[in-house]
Amino acid sequence: MQISGAQMVIEALIAEEVDTIFGYPGGAIMNVYDEIYKQNSFKHILTRHEQAAVHAAEGYSKASGKVGVAMITSGPGFTNAVTGLADAYMDSVPLVVISGQVPMSLIGTDAFQEIDAVGISRSCTKHNYLVTDAADLPRVLKEAFYIARTGRPGPVHVDIPKDVTAQIAKFDYSKEVDIETYKPTTKGNTRQIKKAVDAIKNAKRPLFYLGGGIINSNASEEVRKLVKNTGIPAVETFMARGTLKYDDPLLISMLGMHGSYAANMAMSETDLVIGLGARFDDRVTGKLSEFAKGAKIIHVDIDPASISKLVNADFPIVGDIKHVVKSMLDIAKTTIDKERYTPWLDTIANFNKLHPLSFKEDSEDLKPQWVIKRVGETLGDNANISTDVGQHQMWTAQFYPFSRPRQFISSGGLGTMGFGFPAAVGVKAADPKRISVNFTGDGSILMNIQELMTAVEQKLPVINIILNNNYLGMVRQWQTLFYNKRHSETDLSMQPDFVKLAEAFGGVGYRVSTKEEFDAALKDAIEKNVVAFIDVKVHRLENVMPMVPSGGSLFNMMLEYKEK
């Protein structure tokens, strides 16, 4: 079939069974938007900023497990989207981002809205393409989806000059993808897996270290089974929250900089780390030379470059977590003697008792942690939770009772303020039956506030809970602790009226400062089922505790800090 490049984009999206895309039109991508206008196969959600289009596609992808798609124009459209690409790259989110480019004849002339898009996206995508001939488009688009979703997932950028979208060529999407230079390993080495299982059987104080790769490969069910069958305790990374149910008796909570005391102590005292899809991020390990010092390390990851990058693995296994964990379950059929872990589990229980994750309600003000716990009690599994970046994000990871994978959607690797709201819109589009809640801060929310319009227009109700302390809280916390309270440029006392702002865009706003007011506002927002801002005045000086100071050892946690 002979069709235009623009039509090919549409046909490819249909063939990939894409039901929703996010985007923002402009000059160089207009041919494609003209075809979007003519079709009824998928929905286009017009965001109000290209960065938000990519974050929404990320939210959509993280909630659904499908490849997220964003469509943008050249030049400023593309550069606006770069933060989203970088965010998706860091968190291994499968995306296909299609951008318009100036016509081939103008490339390199500093034309209107021209920028070397593939040059810019090279360092923040898994792969990228500049398509110079419409005849290449079917292959490129097919490869783009394939590369995005296979191996270690990630964003793929396809840049298409305007004349290529107008060019007529043959469209054949039936060919199988065959990239001779790209063959990700999915099955782990059997002998290596067997060795790892033997190591598990011989360990006295083994510990599962669960990472975001488990969620990416939809392996939570297998991992839950493995944890249960072995009786070995587990810690989760920030990215892995929800892998185990919050009340799983073997789950010790999150580890790392703001992990629990018990999780970090367990990691410091274990004799065998069983790392599954975790990359030993510096926010997790603290001081590397002190991390899990006396322990052997099993490291399972689909990305060979992640293994032994920071911490040397004694049992490196390259493969898809789902495959590897299944094989581990098969090999470990002869049940592991759970009795042998009793002293180890007692030790951990003791750590938990000594310093549980907690907060003190010692002031008249609402505590942000209380708000998060309250939402957890009220909505629990019925809500998908996204966050922005900062103190509220860490409190959410600490205190929300996550029941399932893909329930917690947050920007981990890049730490992108402004991620939460557009991501929550994408989450709502992917999973309309569940309530979409975005925990945000008074700093973060202003970074993509224009998405109020998108959410209202598309009737994608997101409940934004602004934990408002009139501070850029996390930076202020660091200034307090490490810069002798020189609060340089972190006082956000000057702020808009969030209630009026929500109303101005056609949403609903609430301002609350007591528990009763909060309960009433949350109830009302849920019942009304509209885009809402709940501006919660919280205690201004609350800090995220416990904390491993940057570069410190996991076992040297700062447990409490009361700021006056």
Partner: protein, 157 residues
């Protein structure tokens, strides 16, 4: 700190637009060092071969090879242990220098005079990088006007 070692890595890539910048961006973006880089298409194939001379600790070199391999157009990454390695240098001398001595020196380093004009002569040597270093220090007294060195190329023995 682990000791940094000089290593030669060959990379076979699909010969397509911007593949070279993918490689060099990887090095600059991740803070790896490139001492020299040589690229040319492999005859009668759709591939190119890059020879990269780099240095780093064992861990860094391992990361370099793994990260290179992650790039989609990369077919093969060869970390050489036992190799034949050659580099080329072209040197321009004033015609007034002692041509017989220069010629003799060149032939000792697998080279010769490749061009003579009214004002200058140009010589070429092709040898192991270390030996090219020796050659370049030996010819200093003949007042070389211009020196150009290629990157290394290497093949496993």
């Amino acid at each position: 700190m682990e000791a940094a070692e000089r290593r030669v890595i060959s990379v076979i890539v699909i010969n397509e637009a911007s593949v070279l910048s993918r490689i060099t961006d990887l090095f600059s973006g991740r803070g790896y060092n490139i001492t020299s880089l040589t690229v040319a298409p492999i005859p009668e194939s759709r591939y190119s071969r890059l020879t990269i001379v780099t240095s780093g600790s064992v861990r860094v070199i391992e990361q370099i090879t793994k990260q290179l391999h992650k790039l989609i157009p990369v077919l093969k990454v060869i970390e050489h242990a036992d190799l034949v390695e050659k580099e080329m240098a072209l040197v321009k001398f004033p015609i007034t220098e002692n041509l017989a001595d220069i010629s003799a020196l060149c032939s000792a380093y697998n080279g010769n005079i490749v061009n003579v004009s009214e004002e200058v002569i140009i010589t070429m040597v092709a040898d192991e990088p270390k030996r090219v270093d020796y050659f370049l220090s030996a010819i200093k007294r003949f007042h070389p006007k211009e020196i150009v060195r290629s990157g290394a190329v290497a093949l496993e023995r």
